[in-house]
């Protein structure tokens, strides 16, 4: 019955079960919901009390809309309203990632000061590397002292009023110069978010170009600020991911064990839950309660964080959070922030499952609240695990779908660098070389959420299969990665089965899947790092916008996706979104996003709901970049005499 709802083999039986038992899920709610037609296209303004103004979007051209069409009570045109809404989404997304980043920095500093038992500075190599980037000499420094210095310096990025964000320097020189020229280098993370809120309030910035100018600046504060800081310090604190095996889908839940699902985004608590689940006393306690063990699994980006670093199995992506509870096998679902549906406690009521909220920022009625603080994180984690164990005996009938599949994850920027040359020849050279010689056509990031308006996972899987068939290497984060993992695309075997001959040959050489899992949604910053490394390695131009790359979020739903998309567009990439696009109500503003913006940053937005067409939109873009780079034809083999050799650098 539910094929057009989801293609996920574990979700379908759970949806059937929900239907049979009369449990309402996100899929039902979505079906019933009549979405606001103005809001869908970005033209409903409720930024003041003269409205809300639902502005008629009729008018064939920008001129008709802007100068002849209906306007808001204050006179705001449809372009202004769409841009305001769009910018506010950027601000919200940036705020989410950056508040996450802030928590991480604060915990990082406390950990380095030894005030948070359980946390430590794990990856000293990365700590030193980051210290050097920050202009701190790591020589002969105690790692904790160094970490305090690094943390405190990065913390200033949040509240800085003038100057530039620290990690902006990770972008290619040419890109930095362009941003400087355009005036969109973020000064401080918080300032850029605040400024969007100000500029988009009643009667301030009323020119969509100007509004998006700040949108660009704010989004960069996400990509090179909150997100990048979060990724860097999480790696140092919890370990930089290396390739590892794991399993994905609801079948990872275990009938004979206490099942704890961690859901949300920040790894700060989930890391401690993982640690607590290995505690001998608690294991013993679980045994006494009749459980064979404590099984941790994840949903959403929390899942990705602990998958990347510990190989903890993934129960599912965003749209499976409710379905996981419907298995009846989950003792506790521990949530922190972002993408946690308020539908959870309603469904949990039908089962023994306890929803445990942990963030002071994110509370829900009908749940149990264990407030998490870094200084006693491990103790809280143990208390939560204990509570889950206590709940084991209250289980009713369990119905775990026998669906789980293998995957390989752990592709940090450092891993990619290592895997292409080992400890001694680590570099992006083989990637660049094989892009230049055409074995790999280009690289596409397929990221983002699930959205019940479209068949669950279908667009992700269809798009990614089409891309790899055309020799495009795919990098993924977030729920998109989980979707493709469930389709078996994150295994090395998938290369032979689905990838074009060139990509398959490279995968075989390196031993990688054709689709690489880079982590959670803050880890989209790893894609920026990878693109910087590709530019620096040489042969593919001297700016991001020269690279044969693109990005897509075919099933997006969160404002965070818009922020991410915008920082890639600001960085010179083509970014294609599916499902819906919240600006199409304005001819002028959408033309600006879809077309004119390319002349400004080299990057632009596109909207396409058909996954195959979306793939070819990006392939055509990549082909165009290849022509511009002069690598559209197979390169001639150069034989080197002494003269030519002298031109090779060492």
């Amino acid at each position: 019955m539910s094929e057009n709802i989801s293609i996920c083999p574990a979700s379908l039986p759970m949806l059937d079960k929900a239907k049979n038992e009369g449990i309402e899920t996100v899929f039902d709610r979505s079906k019933e919901m009549k979405t606001c037609p103005f809001g869908s296209v970005g033209t409903c303004c409720r930024n003041c009390a003269m409205g809300p103004c639902r502005v008629n979007v009729k008018g064939e051209t920008e001129e008709e809309q802007e100068y002849g069409g209906k306007v808001g009570v204050c006179g705001a045109t449809v372009g202004t309203i769409a841009a305001r809404n769009f910018a506010r989404m950027i601000a919200a997304g940036t705020a989410a990632h950056s508040d996450h980043g802030r928590e991480v920095v604060q915990t990082f500093i406390l950990a380095a000061k030894g005030e948070t038992p359980g946390y430590e500075i794990k990856d000293e190599v990365k700590l030193k590397a980051v210290a050097k980037e920050l202009g701190i000499d790591p020589q002969n420094k105690d790692k904790n002292k160094l970490a305090v210095e690094v943390g405190e310096k990065l913390l200033t990025d949040f509240g800085r009023q003038e100057g530039e964000l620290t990690f902006i320097k990770r972008a290619p020189k040419k890109r930095q110069e362009l941003w400087k020229k355009l005036g969109i280098i973020p000064r401080g993370i918080d300032r850029e978010v605040v400024e969007i809120m100000h500029r988009t309030s009643i009667g301030v910035d009323q020119d969509y170009r100007s509004i998006l100018h700040q949108g660009n600046r704010c989004s960069l504060a996400d990509g090179y600020g909150g997100s990048m800081i979060a990724t860097a310090l999480q790696d140092i604190m919890f370990g930089t991911p290396i390739p590892l095996r794991s399993k994905v889908n609801l079948g990872v839940l275990k009938e004979d064990q206490v099942n704890i699902i961690v859901h949300g985004h920040e790894p700060l608590l989930s890391e401690m839950i993982v640690l607590a689940s290995k505690d001998p006393d608690l294991l013993d306690f679980a045994g006494k309660n009749g459980a064979a063990g404590i099984n941790i699994s994840g949903i959403c980006c929390t899942a990705n964080e602990i998958l990347m670093r510990h190989g903890i199995p993934v129960a599912g992506n965003f749209l499976q959070q409710e379905l996981a509870i419907i298995t009846g096998a989950v003792e506790a679902m521990i949530v922190d922030v972002q993408c946690v549906m308020q539908g959870l406690p309603r469904i949990a009521k039908c089962f023994h499952t306890e929803i445990i909220t942990t963030s002071e920022k994110a509370k829900m009625p009908g749940t149990i609240h264990f407030e998490f603080h870094a200084h006693n994180a491990l103790k809280i984690a143990k208390d939560i695990v204990k509570r889950a164990i206590n709940n084991f005996s209250k289980r009713g009938k369990v119905n775990i779908p026998d669906e789980s599949i293998d995957l390989i994850a752990g592709f940090s920027h450092e891993t990619i660098n290592y895997m292409l040359g080992g400890s001694f020849r680590a570099s992006y050279r083989p990637l660049n070389d094989n892009i230049i010689n055409g074995r790999i056509r280009g690289v596409v990031g397929v990221v983002g959420c699930n959205n019940p308006k479209t068949t669950h996972d279908f667009s992700h899987v269809t798009l990614v299969k089409e891309l790899i068939k055309n020799d495009v290497l795919v990098v993924q984060t977030g729920c998109a990665a989980i979707a493709c993992a469930k389709a078996g695309l994150l295994t090395p075997e998938a290369a032979k089965k689905y990838a074009g001959p060139g990509l398959a040959e490279v995968c075989e050489t390196v031993g990688i899947p054709p689709v690489l899992h880079l982590g959670s949604c803050v880890d989209n910053s790893r894609i920026l790092e990878a693109c910087s490394a590709m530019v620096a390695e040489g042969g593919l131009g001297d700016d991001y916008s020269d690279l044969p790359v693109a990005g897509a979020a075919p099933e997006w739903m969160s404002e965070k996706a818009i922020a991410i998309g915008q920082y890639f567009v600001a960085s010179g990439a083509l970014v294609v979104f599916g499902v819906t696009f919240p600006a199409t109500g304005s001819k002028g503003f959408s033309k600006y996003l879809f077309d004119e913006h390319e002349k400004i940053t080299g990057g632009k937005w596109a909207f396409e709901t058909d996954s195959i067409k979306m793939a070819h939109l990006m392939i055509d873009h990549i082909n165009k970049k290849r022509v511009a780079l002069g690598i559209d034809k197979k390169p001639q083999r150069v034989l080197y005499d002494m003269e030519l050799r002298r031109e090779l650098k060492f």
Partner: protein, 736 residues
Amino acid sequence: MSKIIASAAIKGAHKIANLADQNLNQAIQKFGNNQKIEFPNTAYYLPIIYSMLGIKVEKLSDMVTILDKVRNLLPEVPSPTLHVPYLGHVLDAGMATLFAEEIIEALKYLENPIPYTMTISPTSENIWLGAADDKIMRERGIEFVDGSAPGFAACVGACPDNKTAVKLARELQEKNLYIFLAGNNNGKSMSEQLKEEGVQLGWETRLIPFSKDIYGAIFALGFASRAALAFGGVEPGDFKRNLIYNKHRIFAFVLALGEVSDEWYATAAGAINYGFPVISYTDIPQILPTGVCLYEHVVSNIPFDNMVEKALEVRGLKIVKTHVDIPVAYASAFEGERIRKEDTYIEFNYTRTKELTFEFVTSKKIEEIEDGKIEVLGKDLDELSEMSKNSLGIVVEVAGARMQSDFEPILERQIHSFLNEAQGVFHMGQRNINWIRISKTAKDKGFLLSHIGTILLARIMGEYSSIVDKAQVKIITDKNIIEKYYKTAMDTYHHRDDRLKGLTDEAVDTFYTCTLCQSFAPDHICIVTPERSGLCGAYNWLDGKAAYEINPHGPNQPIPKGDIADPILGQWKGVNDAVYKGSHQKLERMNAYSIMEDPMTSCGCFECISAILPMANGIMIVDRDHLEMTPCGMKFSTLAGSIGGGQQVPGFVGHSKYYIGSKKFMLAEGGIFRVVWMPKKLKDDMKDILIARGKEDGIENLYEMIADETVATDEEAVMTYLEKTGHPALTMDPLM
């Protein structure tokens, strides 16, 4: 398919690491932790370990540390399904293998007897040479620097039969490549195959039988690592630069000749770290995507007929060669080939036959020359009976609008290597003391004396066409004709010697730079003046001048010496400008005549090194043939390691032998009287010059006053000797 390779290589790496571990434990039990360990005569310790990790392995306990690192590098064998990425792992396993193999090979030097000859060519009992010492590495390394050796082929195992082995070796030699041999298939090695066929092995013929074990491949890679340290200015421990240097400078590749074992795969994975690809005869899996190597990494199933061609293509190596149409093989690899007396068909040399011989290049008017003409005046080889005694005059007559009489001796000096590169032809000496042998095999193949003309015309027109427009050669064996030409030649030799004596730094306005080594030592620049030749000894001022005429955009550029800044230090404004530019703004000035103040930098090719001996108030000179300890407390190799790579190190300077006899030698510090110690052999070689230079400045017996290793190997003994002989340095101004 490369997962198969990954699995095999990682398995092999584990096996080799275990063997190293086992051998090391045995050695420690037998000799103790503190047993000293080294490859002979090198300043680079165990060179792969030293260059990659920066760790000096000096005693057995150091090896324990290295084996810990090896174990940390060793990954697990990839699982059959759902494996994690293995390329990085394989490369790490390969490097770990090389470290372990270096330990295995170094431990062999504790055996009694040592299983290697430690010579430049095999002895009658043993063909395995083992590690190349620094002297060989420096001498041969220069050939990689200047391109005369375009790279090396590391041949592993054995060919299906001896004939194929010889054919492969010859083909590689003809491409001027060095051929490094190691490993065996079922107890048979290519080195043994060549020996059985009577092929001359050793560094002179570029066929180097390192070891019968695959582990001996590290001698080839250790050579490559050292080249980066010695010539590239790469720091020990800077593994990445060292490996990229090799990828971009040393164009080497591996030829896997037989069944490829796990150990071979592991070692090959080590070589791939250097950017050296593997070409296999057997049908093993291939790794074609590029990135670590310039092009493919492993190419297989290549028949022997096509192997060298394929290897060059895969490595991306272009070999530029002049074709010489003679009935024997022709390549620089044959330059060091010896011809034993019993293999000689005929020889020409006055000392041996009392018949006149000489060789001579002279310039003529253009209309006097019939381009390409080769005349044999007298009988050719097919008319001369075996071992008969005959005269031989070789007269090369050239003409060209840009030809100058100063260039004649430069061309003439090339006759030596031009002739030597023919297989079965041996040449030594120059002018009228030359010595030529032609082998029976060459004669049987149809080699004639006229072919000497063929060789010389082809090479001269090939390399010197910018100064030579036309050339002809006369080969004279007729005793009645030779006298006339002989006399002309002798007169010209005298005239040239006189001209050279008159060439002083003051007499010319222009010096020449030499940046030939900059591809290897990026910041080094040689300044060649009439009274100070290039530090490698290969380039004097006239060479620089000719080289500039030949190639105006080449590494030898004229520099107007400009106003003199200091005549004693040997500093000129124009030279300073050139040094500033040539050193990429690293050096602001250079003094040609001083060791103490802003001395000339060194690339690594120097014939000699001078170093101050502060107590003796003088300097010592050591040349690269002297392998023993010197009074400054460092061997040549250590000294070389610390001053190469384009840096100014006051108190130390590299130079040619020729410069010792120059009137400008260390002029700023008081000249030749500062010399207090030299190796005996160098002192003897320079005896006449030392005596003459001493006399010019008023000391009769300078030669006797200079200490050597027979009387002193440390500074105190030098002092004692100087006091005994009354050496002038003792009373000169303090050096420091």
